[in-house]
């Protein structure tokens, strides 16, 4: 995922050369633009073409999914390209610390009831990725885009969304990111400038509620929230937040949990009319029922009824490799991505009681700091064989010792495969470690 890292840090080495090459290639490609770019300024047409071509080349060269580099080049040629590409589409944006890739995929499936949907399904969630996704799909009536929480304000301005879904805000790579309260403030400011946007927001997360509550049109959902540590203090008044039986309220100001219109209950979701719908998914875990509930709430803003959307949700089997199962050498390998404390807890919840490989890196996209390991309780793994690997396996080793979890260190993914018996191997990895393993498995989707 070198592409993602460069986009994050603004380092462009390597791509600059490709840009000059593609400015020449574009003349051969201009015949393929019919439909997508009608009515666009010439510079946007050129940029769109370059963007698509570069993405194809990036894929062919094995450099990545092509989901970032094309948009990066297109935006270099026309900085307004994303706005041009979004114009005329009904757009939904999905943002938050956790679950946004899965929720975006499920929302795109649900909105697909109405017509074609462009979406950044590889999790390339910054403007370069959005630009690539829209350019690649050509003209579609709908777009559902996952947005990195840092970029939400910018992407709102450029894509003029009809709906913005706010999932949650928890600590995620604080060495690189804004602090949680500052992020909530950025969201709040971004939404204040766009009262026309319909906001779909998580009533269980005080940070999200505070950010969204100023908007005139909010639909609240309750998907259940396990991670509470980041919202003990009220972002409005600084007073402690009390919690009891799923409810919460500030002890020093009027901020409190709004009554949600969409609620996860048992294996299903209650809609605003009070009807309960069974949610059958191929994706594991209760957290994905919550993601499905959010997707149904967003799709409803476009006029999609749950009964129409649910069959489509049940057909989603994996998302950019997440939850994917691969058979190799008699082992059934299942890939679970865990990026931060909240998603590690969810991964343990989803994993079977089978041999488990944990892999940790601390490269730029992961955050350079591994101290979050101590915010995760690894004791659920005591009852199964545990293997560890990755750039920061030693950090993990010390953590597991403190947690009294037995483990074995392996150098490579192949060594891990050889050291477990035939059958299920659960793989839980953080972002770049996950991408490394996915690459070993031939970029499984």
């Amino acid at each position: 995922m070198a592409d993602v890292r460069k986009a994050r840090t603004g380092e462009n080495t390597g791509h600059t050369v490709i840009l000059t090459v593609w400015q020449r290639v574009v003349t051969f490609e201009s015949g393929t633009l019919a439909g997508v770019t009608d009515g666009m300024p010439l510079i946007a047409k050129v940029a769109t073409s370059v963007s698509k071509t570069a993405a194809a080349l990036s894929r062919a060269a094995g450099r990545g999914d092509g989901s970032v580099i094309g948009g990066w080049i297109g935006l270099k040629i026309d900085p307004d390209l994303l706005a041009h590409l979004a114009a005329g589409r009904a757009v939904a944006l999905v943002s938050g610390t956790n679950g946004k890739t899965t929720t975006t995929r499920l929302t795109a499936a649900a909105v697909g009831v109405l017509g074609r949907v462009a979406t950044n399904s590889f999790g390339a969630n910054m403007p370069t990725g959005h630009t690539s996704a829209l350019a690649k799909e050509g003209h579609t009536p709908f777009a559902v885009l996952e947005v990195d929480e840092h970029y939400l304000a910018q992407v709102i301005d450029q894509t003029r969304p009809r709906v913005v879904a706010l999932l949650n805000l928890s600590r995620d790579q604080l060495d690189r990111a804004k602090e949680v309260a500052m992020m909530a403030q950025l969201w709040k400011t971004a939404l204040a400038g766009h009262p026309e946007i319909r906001v779909v927001a998580n009533s269980d997360d005080p940070m999200v509620v505070w950010a969204a509550a100023g908007s005139p049109e909010v639909t609240w959902f309750s998907a259940g929230q396990r991670w509470l540590d980041d919202s003990f203090v009220c972002p409005e008044s600084g007073h402690p937040i009390e919690r009891a039986q799923g409810d919460w309220w500030c002890t020093g100001c009027p901020l409190r949990r709004p009554r949600p219109q969409w609620v996860v209950e048992d294996e299903g979701v209650i809609d605003p009319r009070g009807d309960w719908h069974l949610v059958k998914l191929q994706l594991p875990g209760r957290v994905n029922i919550g993601n499905a509930a959010t997707a149904l709430a967003v799709a409803a803003e476009f006029g999609v009824r749950p009964i129409e959307a649910l069959p489509r949700l049940s057909r989603v089997a994996s998302i950019a490799g997440r939850y994917a199962q691969v058979d190799r050498d008699g082992r059934n390998i299942r890939l679970l991505l865990a990026k931060n404390p909240a998603s590690w807890l969810e991964a343990f919840d989803m994993a079977d009681q089978a041999p488990t490989l944990l892999s940790i890196n601390a490269r730029d996209p992961d955050g350079l700091d591994t101290s979050w390991l101590y915010d995760v309780d690894f004791s659920p793994l005591r009852d199964r064989p545990v293997l560890i690997t990755g750039d920061r396996a030693y950090d993990l080793a010390v953590r597991l010792q403190v947690n009294q979890v037995q483990f074995r260190h392996v150098q490579t993914f192949d060594e891990a495969l050889r050291s477990v018996p035939p059958g299920r191997l659960e793989v839980i990895a953080n972002y770049t470690a996950f991408q490394d393993i996915r690459a070993e498995l031939d970029r499984v989707n």
Partner: protein, 237 residues
């Protein structure tokens, strides 16, 4: 102390627990248990009164708002002051380290600290983020410090506090010194679970708390590997 369990208090986890700060409590408890030292851990929230009879107090990192709130409450409560006066050991990290001093900056305003360490903190021009390395004050007899720092503060030491370490990689207090200590109070910018990479500091706290001159050695193979890797990763100052 010989018959009673060691009491370890984690101060205000509801306010000061930015990143893995729980780890220090878990590591102390584990290292005590492996030596057969009975230990009890207590998480004292900011709406509870601070006991003054514990042996080791841990205070961690946090955002500006919670840091200022924690300082106000600890000053009003007085329990930590009393504990220190009675000889308790304290490990303070990042925001928790700053608020033990005379003053610190939060949300652009100067805030009164607890005055337990002779230090003052203000804002640096840049944020210090990355690997931190230092040679610890020889009087403490400990191997090199390794940590990850992530803070915007700069800390100035008065005559009654000694630097915890001389910086050999990273920023620490000011690029020259890192952390501070006085009596049985330690402060460091190695954020989060600082003891994971520095088990010798954990053992120093346990020795201070138990009065033991030495503790039975533990198998620190993995911690040693981690230390070697991280010490090598720090960029020389």
């Amino acid at each position: 102390m010989s018959t009673e369990a060691l009491r370890i208090v984690w101060i205000y986890p509801d306010l000061l627990s930015t990143y893995g700060d729980r780890g220090n409590m878990l590591i102390l408890a584990r290292r005590a248990a492996e030596r057969g030292i009975p230990a009890e851990t207590y998480e004292v929230r900011s709406d509870q009164s601070m006991p003054h009879t514990a042996d080791i107090y841990l205070i961690g990192g946090g955002e500006d708002g919670p840091q200022a709130l924690a300082a106000q409450r600890l000053i009003a409560d007085g329990g930590l002051h009393q504990a220190v006066a009675q000889g308790a050991a304290v490990l303070s990290i990042c925001a928790g380290y700053q608020l033990l001093g005379h003053s610190f900056f939060a949300k652009g305003a100067k805030c009164a600290g607890l005055g337990l360490l002779d230090i003052t903190s203000d804002r640096g021009e840049t944020r210090a983020v990355g690997e931190l390395r230092g040679e610890i004050d020889p009087r403490l007899g400990l191997p090199a410090l390794t940590g990850f720092e992530n803070h915007g503060g700069r800390t100035h030491l008065g005559a009654h506090a000694a630097p915890l370490a001389r910086v050999t990689g990273g920023i620490g207090n000011d690029g020259q010194t890192e952390g501070a200590w006085a009596g049985k109070i330690l402060g460091t910018y190695s954020h989060g679970p600082a003891l994971a990479r520095n088990p010798a500091i954990a053992d120093l706290l346990l020795r201070w708390a138990t009065g033991a001159d030495r503790l039975a050695p533990l198998d620190d193979t993995w911690a040693d590997r981690l230390r070697s890797e991280r010490l090598a990763a720090a960029t020389p100052a």
